[in-house]
Amino acid sequence: MSIQLVDASLFASTEPVALQGSACATCGAHVFPAQGSCPMCAGVDVSNVALPTEGTVWSWTTQNFAPKAPFRTDEFHPFSIGYVDLGSVIVEGWLLDKTEWVIGEPVRLALAKAWTNDDGTVVHTYGFEAI
């Protein structure tokens, strides 16, 4: 059975996990999620690309209060989010398993449980874990 995702279009693959961005043929910029045009140079010759799965923490914070809707969770616990420098693009995502980070810390992409649907299916999102 395939894994349930918050949005399948965010992922190039789940085994192994990789995020899907788009690359601009004109200026070379990578963006995430994939989109049909390039906001950097206004070009339209873009194609989907799997983004690197390892990078370093570029900035980080903690989410100490439960966000308003449409946020979904089974039970709220404070969590970390950050921007991760993947080399070609800096991607925002959850930082997994701890709430203290250091800028420059190496991390790798992973799947993380987001919430459980009424029918018991677990929905996953992406995050980054310390290496």
């Binding site: 918050v6 999620p33 308003k68 946020f71 979904r72 070609s88 693009v89 959850w94 999102t125």
Partner: protein
């Protein structure tokens, strides 16, 4: 004025402002109060006004203020540009006066927000639902991520955030229209509940209610209406370019960092023929304590990194070399989005005229600066100059 044609100069000749904070009535009641006060401030009536611009982030229509003020037939333009609404409204009014040869304009901004942080819809920003469902569509976490990076890049101590809060609540406590009028010490600010690390409860502004109105006049008419007209030497609006770091961004580019605030401030100083070191009183968008630190650097009012020592020295206090947010800024006044940018201009106008409602900047400041910044990456800056015998 260096020989410029006075017919193409626009001046602020009157202002009105309600108390900021929680309000049980309708937002347009606040707007009306501010407008009537602004008209009285320069001894004119609504019938004398020949152009108006209004801004709000709420659901009411600013142009329907004519139902309260009078159906004089004047053109009334509505703007809605998030946190930058006040700056955009001011620019629209100025340009309208000059382009159409009109004499007197009223600019009004107002809002009455519900309690708590703004709830943002991913779809309105062209982002998938996943971004909100996973808890990343949160303005406060953006502020924290942005200041964390800025402090790191420029070697500024996190404790500086506490100094920003202390200053804001100090000046708010002295201002009769401010919402938060209780002083907070540096340690209290730093040691209070963490909302999004490194930002704590005393380092954020909250949405609230309030309205501000200004009367603008063109050319010689300004000097008939006001003893101390404040010349709008520049008002410039800019949008984001590649490399800026904006709210609700699932990704950032790796190249050179840019900012609409940098661009708008540079344009405003160039238009006014003023350099940042000439500014004697300033208002900067301080939606959180970190934003004031970042915007000091981005507007060119100090070098990036200088803020750590600057706050320790009291450089940005009333008696420092560059007083910033002398009414307590957004931190102490909250942010009724439509009114906030005009509050800044109102405060600087009063400081330059020597009639501050709170603490007065000493030594007769003549040159002021204001800066608003907001989603989805826009900034408006003004340069304000007190005219007088020595100008």
């Amino acid at each position: 004025m260096s020989g410029a044609n006075i017919d193409n100069e626009v001046y602020i000749v009157g202002g009105g402002m309600t108390e900021f904070g929680r309000f049980d009535g309708e937002d347009q009641e606040l707007a009306e109060q501010a407008m009537r006060e602004a008209l009285a401030d320069c001894n004119i009536t609504w019938a004398d006004v020949d152009f108006a611009v209004g801004g709000t982030n709420g659901e009411t229509k600013p142009d329907n203020m004519v139902a309260r003020m009078g159906l004089t037939g004047l053109p009334f333009i509505t703007v809605k540009n998030g946190c930058a609404t006040g700056g955009v409204a001011l620019m629209t009014a100025r340009n309208g006066l000059i382009a159409e040869g009109r004499d007197i304009a009223v600019v009004v901004g107002y809002d009455n927000h519900a309690r708590g942080a703004f709830a943002a819809s991913p779809a309105r920003y062209g982002i998938g639902d996943w971004y909100g469902e996973t808890g990343m569509m949160v303005t406060t976490s953006y502020f924290a991520l942005k200041i964390r990076r800025y402090l790191h890049e420029h070697g500024i101590d996190e404790r500086t955030l506490g100094y920003v809060s202390e200053k804001a609540f100090d000046y708010g406590s002295a201002h009769p229209l401010a919402w938060r009028r209780k002083p907070v010490s540096v340690d209290e600010a730093i040691d209070s509940d963490v909302i999004n690390a490194p930002l704590t409860r005393f380092m954020f502004c909250s949405p609230d209610a309030g309205a501000v109105a200004l009367v603008l006049a063109r050319g010689k008419r300004a000097f008939e209406l006001c003893e101390n007209p404040i010349r709008l030497a520049a008002v410039e609006l800019r949008g984001r370019r590649p490399g800026s770091f904006e709210v609700f961004s699932p990704w950032l580019s790796t190249g050179e960092r840019t900012s609409p605030s940098i661009d708008a401030a540079q344009a405003a100083f160039a238009t006014a023929g003023i350099t940042p070191d000439q500014v004697q009183v300033a208002q900067l968008q301080d939606t959180d304590s970190g934003a004031e630190i970042i915007h000091l650097g981005e507007t060119g009012l100090c070098a990036n990194g200088e803020q750590g020592v600057g706050y320790l020295n009291g450089d940005y206090k009333i008696d420092g070399k560059l007083p910033v947010n002398t009414d307590g800024g957004c931190l102490a006044n909250g942010e009724p989005v439509g009114a906030s940018g005009l509050r800044q201009v109102h405060e600087v106008m009063r400081q330059l005229q020597g009639r501050a409602l709170g603490q007065q900047v000493p030594n007769n400041p003549r040159i002021g600066f204001t800066h608003v910044y907001g989603a989805p990456g826009i900034s408006a800056c003004t340069v304000l100059v007190k005219e007088g015998a020595n100008s």
